[in-house]
């Protein structure tokens, strides 16, 4: 049987709609919801794990976050989407990236454009890397004071157990004590080993630990913060305290997903953004005020738009 290459043969080289269960990869419209993606994947024993809100589209996810809770185990979106079809402002469509998961062919326009927020066009289809379903899923929650939770974070950060934990979030809710949640999708029969590890971490750190049944996602955040792993617990507490609502620190990835009750004021965002810059961090979200580009960058961006809009 001939395999579908997933590449159009009409000369455009665009991605076609394809699903390759051997390579665990497939293309989906940018307007597909994660529920729709995972319904198709589930038929092959696969899943796309980087879900924040099942009912929102891939494009909406990528506009507001570069990491999802399951990035603890699987990495950023950019490491799980090898390619896309891209619509230039001129109306022409072009394939960006590949349908195989490993490539060093040419300049990495894919990684450059994926979260470029409409400055150079937009994606119409994404190629997604899917993962096998484990067999048994469960979550636990650690509770305790800030020092004890910091000890949990350090312990989880330093252990190779974290390669196998889907999600390690510190949840800050205005007016409530923070907690760390961990979620696992493991092979059938492995749950007791994970629970023993989590119990040992709780014992060493002086926290409580309970099995938590299905922690509900609060949906897509208003914006996200990229910082370093050791700083995000404090940042999430600051955001929840200042803006109300809740903030989720993705502890291994150095990311905070912010769900404010009150819209953040411009001064708060400007201060936050400035504090992140020396570390190479930033804010992301469609509702954030635009930033002035660095002068050199303004020239590069104008040149790119000029060249690409002439195609």
């Amino acid at each position: 049987m001939m395999m579908d290459s997933g590449i159009a043969t009409d000369g455009s080289r665009l991605f076609t709609r394809f699903f390759d269960a051997v390579d665990m990869i497939g293309s989906f419209p940018a307007a597909a919801t994660l529920a729709e993606v995972n319904a198709i994947a589930a038929g092959h024993g696969l899943r796309f794990p980087l879900v924040i809100d099942l009912d929102r589209t891939l494009r909406e996810h990528l506009a507001v976050a570069e990491y999802a809770p399951a990035s603890a185990r699987f990495g950023a979106y950019v490491d799980n989407l090898p390619g896309m079809n891209w619509l230039l402002p001129t109306g022409r469509r072009v394939r960006i990236g590949e349908r195989v998961v490993k490539s060093t062919t040419g300049y990495d326009l894919f990684r450059f454009l994926l979260h470029s927020d409409g400055r150079y066009g937009q994606a119409t289809d994404y190629v997604l890397r899917l993962r096998p379903v484990g067999g048994e899923s469960f979550a636990v929650a650690f509770t305790g004071d800030a020092g004890a939770l910091a000890a949990v974070r350090r312990r989880l950060m330093a252990s190779s157990w974290n390669h196998w934990i889907d999600r390690i979030d510190q949840v800050s809710v205005a007016g409530s004590p923070p907690r760390i949640e961990a979620e696992v999708d493991c092979l059938a029969g492995e749950k007791p080993r994970f629970l023993a590890f989590f119990a040992a971490v709780a014992g060493e750190s002086g926290t409580g630990m309970v099995e938590a049944s299905g922690v509900a996602s609060p949906g897509l955040p208003a914006f996200s913060i990229k910082s370093t792993p050791a700083r995000v617990a404090e940042l999430s507490a600051i955001c929840a305290g200042r803006l109300g609502g809740q903030a989720r620190a993705l502890l291994l990835n150095g990311v905070v997903l912010v769900y404010p009750d009150n819209p953040p004021d411009a001064a708060f965002l400007a201060d936050l953004g400035r504090s992140l810059e020396p570390l190479g961090g930033h804010l992301l979200g469609p509702s954030l005020p635009p930033r002035d580009p660095i002068p050199a960058e303004a020239i590069w961006a104008a040149s790119l738009n000029h060249q690409w809009n002439a195609l």
Partner: protein, 468 residues
């Protein structure tokens, strides 16, 4: 120096005092090629700056003098990337080799561009930290070259390639400006766009790296290695398919075809594999309490696919014994053939059988020996062709085979390079792979940072020729 006048040579020598400008044919001979050794491009000079400030001064001088130049680390690349394809100066960055910081709490390291990959690994071991990209040249290759070529290795099926670990990079642009993209947080910092993404994997055509911020993860506590052989391709292919979708996520899945197995078994490096067999090597890793419980399931999977000689272990000596055939094959190529080329492409795994048939067919038609290995988990194929460039017509045969294979790779939905880069070896295939619109978008990138192509000309795209 043959390609530059005495005045220019004197200015360069003044900028690199203390014998750090090499110009005699004997001195520059070692820089004529990289691992693609049959393509030689003697540079006019080799400069060895001692620090980043000297690189800045040198770049400014070369710009003013109108001399093409290329940055180089250990020169282990396999695609003809770090060579002076239009003559000029090779900037050898081996003196920028300090590990500046290891931060266990934040999980990153700051390193200079000339740090040897395995030196970083040794420095990380006491912290229990791990930097996963592991190209086979780890004992000598440098991180600058790894980042420039987006290097991979045997464990990237689960852990990813170099670009997954670059949090930030300091780059010297063509005008001598030093910029930092990203940093410990791995984001954009003050930039609106993520420019570092364009520089990683750009094969030294956009700027010169001087330092990196690299993401680190906990070192796997325990590793189990499995080796199995199969009498026929269908069995081996099924083993690859089942391993790749197994929720235990092997860290590596390696494949050797029968000619490669036979090459090892006919050498002093033989390990007792059945001749004519397909070999699969796989590894699982993790905390001992977890990974030990997965061992029998992986062994059983390998047996169910038809292997009657599944061997496995976790002790270091046992693991090294199991890896021996796979590790030996690269060195054997150089011992049994005057020249060889290691091709690099990624294909959908379902196409492996069809691609092997094409490799055997083309090699047989040309009278060229071929052995094939593969990072099978992610479809990264390395067909190796053994030839003698001194024999009339052999080089042409190799180039013809390369062209046929790369066209087929693109047709299958694959890509021209998974981890070696394009260099000057595959630049000619880029137009067909990208199509006119895709190529035009690609060529817009060097227009931003290196519009005259003075830095590393004739690489990645053949159109990138420097005109002084």
């Amino acid at each position: 120096m043959t390609g530059m006048n005495a005045s220019r040579a004197r200015q360069l020598a003044d900028a690199m005092p203390g014998g750090r400008l090499l110009t005699s044919p004997a001195q520059v001979a070692a820089y004529e090629s990289d691992g693609l050794s049959y393509r030689r491009f003697p540079p006019d000079a080799v400069a060895i700056p001692g620090n980043a400030d000297e690189v800045v001064a040198l770049v400014r001088l070369l710009r003013d003098l109108g001399i093409p130049y290329v940055a180089r680390g250990a020169g282990t690349s396999l695609s003809g990337g770090a060579v002076a394809a239009q003559g000029g100066v090779v900037i050898h960055l081996s003196k920028l080799r300090q590990i500046l910081e290891i931060n266990p709490d934040e999980g990153y390291a700051v390193v200079e561009t000339g740090v040897v990959l395995n030196h970083l690994d040794e420095a990380l071991k006491p912290y229990g930290l791990y930097y996963p990209p592991d190209p086979s040249t780890g004992p000598v290759c440098t991180l600058g070259g790894n980042v420039a070529c987006n290097a991979g290795g045997v464990h990237c099926f689960r852990y990813g390639v170099t670009c997954n670990y670059v949090l930030g990079a300091e780059v010297i642009l063509m005008d001598g400006q030093v910029v930092r993209f990203g940093g410990p947080a791995g984001g954009r910092g003050g930039w609106s766009d993520d420019w570092k993404r364009l520089f990683v994997g750009s094969e030294g055509t956009l700027g010169i790296f001087t330092r990196f911020w690299l993401r680190l993860i906990p070192r796997p506590e325990k590793v189990w290695t499995f080796r199995a052989t199969y009498a026929d391709f269908q069995q081996a292919s099924e083993a690859i398919r089942r391993l790749a979708i197994h929720p235990a996520f092997p860290a590596a899945i390696e494949f050797m075809d029968p000619p490669c197995v036979d090459m090892v078994e006919n050498s002093p490096m033989r390990v007792g594999l059945p001749k004519g067999s397909f070999m699969i090597l796989t590894e699982i890793d993790g905390p001992a309490e977890l990974v030990d419980g997965r061992v029998e399931a992986v062994a059983q999977l390998l047996r169910e696919c038809g292997s009657s000689d599944v061997t496995y272990g976790h002790e270091e000596s046992m693991r090294m014994a199991l890896w021996k055939a796979r590790k030996a094959q690269g060195g054997l190529l150089g011992q049994i053939s005057p020249d060889f080329v290691v091709q690099d492409a990624v294909i959908p795994k379902a196409c492996l059988g069809e691609m092997l048939e094409l490799i055997y067919q083309e090699a047989a038609a040309a009278g060229i020996a071929a052995v094939t290995i593969m990072h099978a988990g992610d479809g990264n194929l390395h067909p190796d062709f053994l030839f003698d460039a001194r024999k009339a017509g052999e080089l042409e045969k190799i180039e013809k085979i390369g062209k046929v294979l790369m066209r087929k790779v693109s047709e299958m939905g694959g890509t021209l390079s998974g981890e070696h880069g394009i260099g000057n070896d595959k630049a000619a295939y880029m137009a067909e792979h990208f199509g006119p619109l895709g190529q035009a978008m690609q060529l817009a990138i060097p227009q931003l940072f290196n519009p005259s192509h003075q830095l590393n000309p004739l690489k990645v795209f053949p159109e990138r020729r420097f005109v002084s």
